[in-house]
Symmetry: C2
Subunit: 378 residues, 2 copies
């Protein structure tokens, strides 16, 4: 497996990003990812019951169609809590793009990120579509990665190549997210493109496992978003023997998981206002659910995160967060090892002394800057 | 029912508070509440599985004895995550006080609040006990209320009188708590003294109901403490007909609930760094558990609290918090009414349009000041 920290689109994919005027700042706010070959898609969405309109439309299209060619993403507006109009707006945007690309509208997937509760300005999107499509290119992914950003301070991108029975297969991912980051998942959008040939079942399984160990193991502020999406498109352009199970699937899944974990860590590293990147290892738990819940209870403890910001090695707050996780963990079972708080990287290991399961979760500190950013957002 | 915002000890109770040197600042840090008549006791403790040592000792004494005469409380040290030594320290403190008061050691209850993970300096407590006991008086509750404070900026106190079959009965409560405040319960200590004659069963039932609707309905930072305690002592000095059920119990319970709710609101009003007092009414829920969980999901949303601090009427963050509560509530069922954010009092009403149950929860905004206070704590 070879990785580089830069987005390189696999064969058959093109992308672009432009400013269509949704962001007052004039920054890029409309992205398009396009596959010249109809691609399989698999997606994981937020478990928040208040689902943003584009996610409702995506779910519908994923049921109606089997292959997809385009993903249209806008930033600056989440198109969430916008009622039936919001759903109409998402559908119309998909239709306009389908016309422009001369493809079926169900083969377009849509996504949005930004402010919640304000209607999407579809006219601006419509006006931008021609330019967006005309500018499609394989290097356009670098424009796309900028156009999906909101409060992000840097673009998150990664590419890797692996071999399936000797044939090179590429996977590339871009992501955005810097706040409202919680497990299941985050205001977090991630788009993954691969030229691998793979069955739908194998792709679903592989993505599920990868997301569980990456995006579902990060937390910035414990706030679950309404728009979270991890979407993978697989267009088979690599011409490899179709991946379905066994060593090939393990190989591909390992790659996908590694790529997702790297992107998830980048999201945490870019957490709004954060000064620290915190790795929490919970070990010797009864089962993985216990390890994960305990780790997330610590990761979401406002007091722990504040203590790390203050470089204040407060073991008590870790213990209190463990005890609040809902498991009957006794104080005498608890071993807490907190590394130095001076640097940017902080490592916390919590042993529960009751089993062999473990889980690693990533989070950031909570700072006055985070509050300033989020108090002034709109 | 007559209420005043001042602690007035009911008949048969005395109290005192002194500085014994646990707090470096020299502020009062040791409190004693004493009943000359052995009193029934009922208590609600944190559900955090990491239990502070004094709570372990309290639970033991509550099992071993039926009547109690003294509550010893120190601030400046939580005596939590202190292992077997911590339990020994709590027991020895109780024993020393029992000797000083010439009462059975099991009739002493102990409590602590302050920093977690540091051993309690029992020698300092021992040295202070004589002075603490000698100074007991009915007005000493005003010294006690100061000695239980940590980061509190004001003392929380209230008294009320009601009539049981024509006989006046008094209830008085003092509380502390300003951070690490979450449901079930808060770093929150509350001591309630009543001269009512009441059965153990009625007292337990009454306290359980009162705490559910007061201290379990507040949240400052979503962090569940290891030391939370609400303790009521009932010494029967009022000479009323023993309360056991029916109208008398309803009458007493109403008083106790009202007193607890007032104290709980004071805790929220004193939330660390807060600039706003937020009331969240969730109405038209399927059942009360749903209403409460949704209300607390909003109250614990870092993004919602930050928005209120910024006087930023962000409905989307409310919707996202509702959706994250775990219930399948759809956007179209949700009606959000957010009052003005300009003043100190903010009122949010969320209707779920799916039933008749409701719940009110109180919280505060999250501010850069909160982070400063908690980053620098020890």
């Amino acid at each position: 497996m070879k990785k580089i920290l830069k987005a390189i689109l696999p064969g058959g994919f093109k992308a672009n990003g432009i400013s269509c005027g949704l962001k007052k700042s004039g920054k890029p706010d409309l992205a398009l990812i396009y596959s010249q070959f109809p691609a399989l898609a698999s997606a994981k969405f937020t478990t928040n019951s208040i689902l943003a309109a584009p996610l409702i439309v995506c779910k519908e299209h994923l049921k109606l169609a089997k292959r997809f060619q385009a993903v249209l993403v806008n930033s600056g507006n989440a198109n969430c809590f916008t009622g039936k109009s919001g759903i109409k707006d998402a559908k119309i945007s998909a239709s306009y793009l389908a016309q422009e690309l001369k493809i079926a509208k169900n083969s377009v997937l849509v996504n949005s990120t930004g402010i919640i509760g304000k209607r999407l300005d579809v006219a601006k999107i419509k006006q931008g579509l021609r330019k967006l499509v005309l500018g499609l290119s394989s290097s356009g992914i670098h424009k796309a990665k900028m156009a999906i950003m909101t409060t992000d301070t840097f673009a998150k991108e990664i590419s890797l190549s692996l071999k399936i029975k000797g044939k090179p297969v590429q996977i590339c991912g871009i992501a955005k997210g810097a706040g409202m980051i919680a497990p299941n998942m985050a205001t977090m959008l991630c788009f993954i493109m691969t030229d691998a040939a793979i069955t739908q079942g194998a792709l679903d399984k592989s993505l599920g496992a990868a997301v569980d160990k990456s995006f579902n193991c990060i937390s910035v502020d414990g706030c679950m978003s309404t728009n979270d999406t991890v979407l993978v498109l697989a267009n088979a352009a690599a011409g490899n023997k179709v991946i379905s199970n066994g060593a090939d699937l393990r190989n591909f899944s390992q790659g996908l998981e590694s790529l997702c974990l790297d992107l998830a860590k980048m999201v945490v590293a870019d957490a709004e206002g954060a000064t620290k990147f915190i790795q929490i290892d919970v070990i010797q738990a009864k089962h993985i659910q216990e390890a994960k819940k305990v780790a997330l209870s610590i990761a979401n403890s406002v007091l722990f995160k504040t203590a790390v910001f203050g470089q204040n090695p407060n073991f008590g707050r870790v213990a209190a967060a463990v005890g609040a996780s809902g498991f009957k963990i006794k104080a005498e079972q608890l071993k807490i090892k907190l590394g130095s708080l001076k640097g940017k990287q902080v490592k916390l290991t919590v042993s529960l002394s009751r089993g062999k399961a473990k889980c690693t979760v990533y989070t950031s500190d909570l700072t006055p800057e985070y509050i300033k950013i989020n108090a002034q957002y709109n």
